[in-house]
């Protein structure tokens, strides 16, 4: 059942294109982005190995249950509420950014709020389903969309328009010292493992993580492509002019024989699907974390009837997302994303170390 684990990883590593990660890295391309990417790969890999080996000791248990085993309820409640805010933020940034993106590229006449409302209703409906259903939706979403994304990435790498000189120039800045912002941004690629916090509930006791070496390799490849390919297309200077850097890169590509000529549209549709799947998965996890704060909560991953609390919690998430779009603009959204990435970086290290220490103590006690 390893594939269910990898879907999460691949999903998050693709979604980085929408979280302004390439844009943040490219801003620092002369001042430490390249070395930060290398450091990020190392840190990401270490975190993956620590978290997976810690979670493997708790089969069928999510993060709330594990923490409840060892810590007092008030501490669990506080941290769970905090984590759910983190998870909600992770997805809301993406879905809000995408609503604006649709407004820019697809429906310029429509109101971004209305588009966001539609997206939020769809994601909210999906997020209220049971954990098992959410996992199946992630699976179908990945199986349908991942080949197309790989096709686009492949097409971009193989394109004649790609200027390898520009890539060489930027790569030579590897000697610059890494910065915190860039490390936080580049570790985001690896952060799919953190979804295990909830989806670990689904895994049976005799489950073992296999082929973990794929993680650093695939993550590194995707990270390098997302950073270097736009530079190759737009040049070392021109690349800094775009916010939606990958939409512009996809727009530079042409499918000569397809009846859809511009790759941009394919790219946008595929990433719309990914955004929906990612938002659903994030909200579902945040929802389960909020639910786990109540003392009477019983974890259930395939309930026959959707509990009312699901709708209430996700409804609040949805309203907050719409509010977020109303109160912020793209510039603020990007600034918030940058800070969020740094906070996320430390929170994730906290979660991983916490669970890792707990699992070590537990194995000693046994």
């Amino acid at each position: 059942m390893n594939r269910y684990f990898y879907y999460n990883f691949v999903l998050v590593s693709f979604i980085n294109l929408l979280l302004y990660v390439p844009h943040i890295l490219i801003q620092y391309r002369y001042t430490g982005a390249v070395s930060s990417i290398l450091v990020g790969i190392v840190i990401g890999t270490i975190l993956v190995y620590m978290y997976t080996s810690a979670m493997a000791r708790y089969p069928g248990k999510g993060l709330p249950e594990i923490l409840k085993l060892h810590s007092p309820q008030w501490l669990v409640t506080i941290s769970m509420l905090f984590f759910s805010v983190m998870w909600w933020f992770a997805t809301t940034i993406v879905v809000v950014a995408y609503a604006i993106l649709i407004n820019r590229f697809f429906n310029p006449d429509a109101d971004a709020n209305i588009i966001l409302t539609m997206l939020v209703i769809a994601c909210g409906y999906a997020a209220t389903r049971s954990t098992l259903s959410v996992m199946f939706i992630v699976e179908i979403g990945m199986i349908v969309n991942a080949p197309i994304i790989i096709f686009i990435l492949f097409k971009a790498v193989r394109s004649n328009q790609l200027n390898w000189d520009a890539i060489h120039v930027v790569a030579n800045y590897i000697t610059e010292m890494p910065t915190l912002t860039c490390i936080a941004a580049s570790t985001f690629i690896f952060t799919g493992y953190i979804n295990l916090s909830l989806f670990n509930r689904l895994f049976p006791p005799n489950f073992r993580f296999k082929f973990r070496f794929i993680y650093p390799i695939a993550g590194a490849v995707i990270l390098l492509i997302t950073f270097f390919v736009p530079i190759g297309f737009h040049g070392t200077e021109g690349v800094n002019q775009y916010i939606y850097i990958w939409s512009q890169t996809a727009n530079s590509l042409l499918m000569q024989y397809g009846f859809i000529e511009r790759v941009l549209f394919l790219f946008l549709i595929v990433f719309l699907n990914l955004t929906l799947v990612y938002t659903m998965s994030g909200w579902h996890q945040a929802m389960e974390f909020v639910k786990s704060c109540f003392p009477s909560y019983r974890p259930e991953f395939d309930s026959l009837k959707t509990p009312m609390s699901n709708y209430v919690i996700v409804g609040i998430f949805a309203l907050l997302s719409i509010l977020y779009l109303m109160l912020t603009n793209e510039k603020m959204n990007m600034l918030i994303t940058t800070y969020w990435l740094i906070v996320r970086f430390f929170v994730e290290i906290l979660i991983v170390v916490w669970v890792f220490v707990l699992s070590k103590r537990r194995s000693k006690a046994v």
Partner: protein
């Protein structure tokens, strides 16, 4: 006995209550004439009793066909099921002389396969059981009888392989079968609705079939079959989405061809759902999506059409849906006329009159044709509905709306359960050692 039976039933001339007497003894016989086989009654009761070649009491005692009946409460229901009641020397015997009227030796009509068994289940439940037992000669085949309907008392048989069946599903089905509360039950489709419970379901979660080969292969996969008396259709449960997309011929024909056919089926399902919505969104929202030549030819073909694209879509879809409905309801001989008139004349004329564009006619026919590729009728009907909500969302949001709509459909499909089993799930190879995701129930 006869006096009491007369009191039990309403005044009816077809209830026969006779007193027979010979030199040995006298018996009372009661039966409902139209329900019974005359020949059986005369061969087993009247003739041996009158001829007296052999003691009738000894015959009653030795032949297991005459069952001793002690429960008076059973009289009514046994008579109504075509049994003959005999009272001899104070003891009541029942004798089964049921006459079953059904279509003999039926061929598959709804799900036909070119190669593969041509025989379908029979309306006589014993013939159906014979077919299934013949194709599945295993001692593990278990047959349970339930009766549904407070008035109709329709016998319903549940068949499964006791070694392979999933016990939780079986429990679920048993409780559902015992708690169903209706007066009449006539058809398998009715039972399906009652079993599913949800009145407003969109996708079928129980497969209705007439093919014994489909049934036996389902039994071997641990599924449960439900046969309804007087019905040539059986229910297979739990069923997944992929069972509905599977034709029996996929197992009989050559490998690569069938893979291709399966691919074709899924592609055409996607087309029939999305094409009208995509037409609207491309024409009205994003003509730049297609390459220039294609965009021009679409715009050119629409130049004579005086209203927005969604009205055009509604006109054409209304026509094609009425055409399909009409050709199903019409007798077989007139049916082909309707399609010719509709397809040829309406299609051509509507385009020339400038009511719809010629691209729209292509879209409509692709939608209609690819809908028929789905092998099981109930899913085909469900899919036929799916395009309308997508059209609605495409009117307001264009391509984005179509993608979001498809996502909602997938969510709905994934959250469906057929008797506790996931309805839409891509099964990879499961290693039995590894265990399945979501296998452990949290306590």
């Amino acid at each position: 006995m006869n006096e009491r039976i007369r009191l039990l039933f309403a005044e009816a001339i077809d209830i026969k209550l006779e007193n027979l007497k010979n030199s040995e003894m006298s018996i009372e016989v009661a039966y409902i004439e139209p329900l019974c086989e005359e020949k059986k009654i005369s061969d087993f009761i009247i003739v041996p009793f009158i001829k007296e070649e052999y003691s009738f009491q000894a015959q009653l005692d030795t032949n297991p066909d005459y069952e001793i009946l002690e429960d008076v409460a059973m009289w009514q229901s046994l008579l109504l099921r075509g049994h003959v009641l005999i009272q001899a020397n104070g003891v009541v015997y029942s004798f089964k002389a049921e006459r079953v009227i059904c279509i003999e030796n039926s061929q598959t009509q709804v799900e036909s396969a070119i190669q593969g068994p041509q025989i379908a289940l029979s309306e006589n439940i014993n013939i159906s059981l014979n077919l299934i037992r013949g194709m599945y000669p295993s001692p593990d085949l278990s047959v349970e009888e339930h009766s549904i309907g407070s008035l109709s008392k329709t016998p319903v048989f549940a068949l499964f392989d006791q070694r392979r069946v999933d016990p939780t599903v079986l429990d679920n089905v048993r409780t559902k079968l015992t708690t169903i509360n209706v007066e009449m039950l006539h058809s398998a489709g009715e039972l399906e609705k009652l079993l599913v419970g949800n009145r407003k379901h969109l996708f079928p979660t129980i497969l209705i079939t007439e093919r014994p080969d489909r049934i036996t292969s389902a039994i071997s996969k641990g599924k449960i079959i439900i046969l309804v008396k007087g019905n040539m259709f059986a229910l297979i449960l739990p069923s997944t989405f992929f069972d509905f997309m599977h034709a029996v011929e996929d197992d009989y024909d050559s490998y690569w061809m069938t893979r291709f056919l399966i691919f074709l089926r899924y592609t055409s399902t996607l087309l029939t759902i999305t094409l009208p919505a995509l037409y609207i969104s491309v024409v009205s929202y994003n003509p730049e999506l297609f390459r220039v030549q294609l965009a021009f030819s679409i715009a050119g073909s629409r130049s004579a059409v005086p209203y927005p694209s969604f009205i055009e879509v509604f006109i054409m879809l209304f026509m094609i849906e009425t055409l399909i409905e009409a050709s199903i309801r019409l007798p077989r001989y007139i049916g082909s006329t309707a399609t010719t008139v509709g397809g040829l004349i309406l299609g051509q004329a509507a385009q020339q009159a400038g009511l719809v564009s010629s691209i729209m006619i292509i879209v409509t026919s692709v939608v209609a044709i690819s809908n028929f590729v789905i092998p099981v009728n109930s899913l085909s009907f469900a899919v036929r509905f799916l395009k309308y909500p997508l059209i609605g969302i495409a009117i307001f949001f264009g391509i984005t709306g179509v993608a979001v709509g498809l996502f909602i459909y997938i969510t709905y499909l994934c959250s469906l359960r057929s008797f506790g089993k996931p309805y839409m799930r891509i099964f990879g190879k499961l290693r039995p050692l590894e265990g399945d995701v979501g296998q452990v129930k949290i306590k």
